[in-house]
């Protein structure tokens, strides 16, 4: 049940999603990936992508126009 931070701050679409995909491959089931972005489309794309693959994901707007994402790797 480890928590991984991934720095995607200021990265352009779709680099955050590509980085997250890569990072997830090296994670164990039950691990949580924490992401933070100020890019509305990026946040949306990651949520849609995660839901497609039935990963658990929560999206929270922590400040004006900044989104905090927590993705749980529920399966391989």
């Amino acid at each position: 049940m480890a928590r991984f931070q991934l720095d995607i701050w200021g990265e352009m679409c779709p680099i955050p999603l590509l980085k997250a995909q890569k990072k997830l491959k090296g994670m164990n089931i039950g691990d949580i990936l924490v992401l933070e972005t100020e890019h509305s489309c990026t946040s949306r794309a990651i949520v849609v992508w995660a839901k497609d693959r039935a990963y658990e994901i929560t999206e929270q707007e922590v400040a004006n126009g900044i989104w905090h994402l927590e993705l749980t790797k529920t399966h391989d």
Partner: protein, 163 residues
């Protein structure tokens, strides 16, 4: 009701809702303007005007007044203001500066390639692809195929240099 209103102002709307509303607006633009929505030909007129102002080229007949009367100017201005308004209404407005040097290069290079490509092909994604196809023009379909090939090449470059 409160939930609907919250989703309306804060978003995000589902993609298909966006597609339907954009289609309605796109059709309304055709009715009012008697010409489809386009972005890049107006940008070209502005760049020609600016180029003339700073003495890079000799402009033939583009004046500032013409630009202020051109419907394309109001469409482009509207898109910027509308997006800002939408962001502000959701309390998501903030200045998002460039945080990595690589994006300075990619934004400039990408912008120049895009501007050049759009003008030699007479259209961008809106005027060339969407409304080229919507106008039942063969050119629109061919342009769309070329854009897909270009986006694929661009993706390779992105993975190689920007990731």
């Amino acid at each position: 009701m409160a939930k609907i209103s919250s989703v309306f102002w804060r978003g995000p709307w589902p993609y298909w809702v966006g597609a339907i509303v954009l289609a309605v607006l796109n059709i309304l633009v055709l009715i009012v303007r008697q010409q489809p929505w386009g972005v890049s030909s107006n940008l070209e007129a502005w760049s020609e005007w600016m180029g003339g102002k700073i003495g890079l080229i000799s402009t033939r007949n583009i004046s500032g007044l013409m630009l202020l009367q051109s419907s394309g100017t109001y469409l482009n201005l509207g898109v910027i203001l509308g997006a800002f308004w939408s962001t502000l209404a959701a309390s998501q407005a903030r200045f998002r500066p460039i945080r990595h040097r690589k994006f300075v290069v990619s934004a400039l290079a990408g912008g120049v390639l895009m501007g050049y490509g759009a003008r030699i092909a007479y259209g961008c994604n809106i005027g060339g692809l969407l409304n080229g196809i919507a106008s039942s023009s063969l050119t629109g379909w061919i342009f769309a195929a070329a854009v897909i090939i270009g986006a694929w090449i661009g993706s390779k470059l992105l993975v190689k240099y920007l990731l």
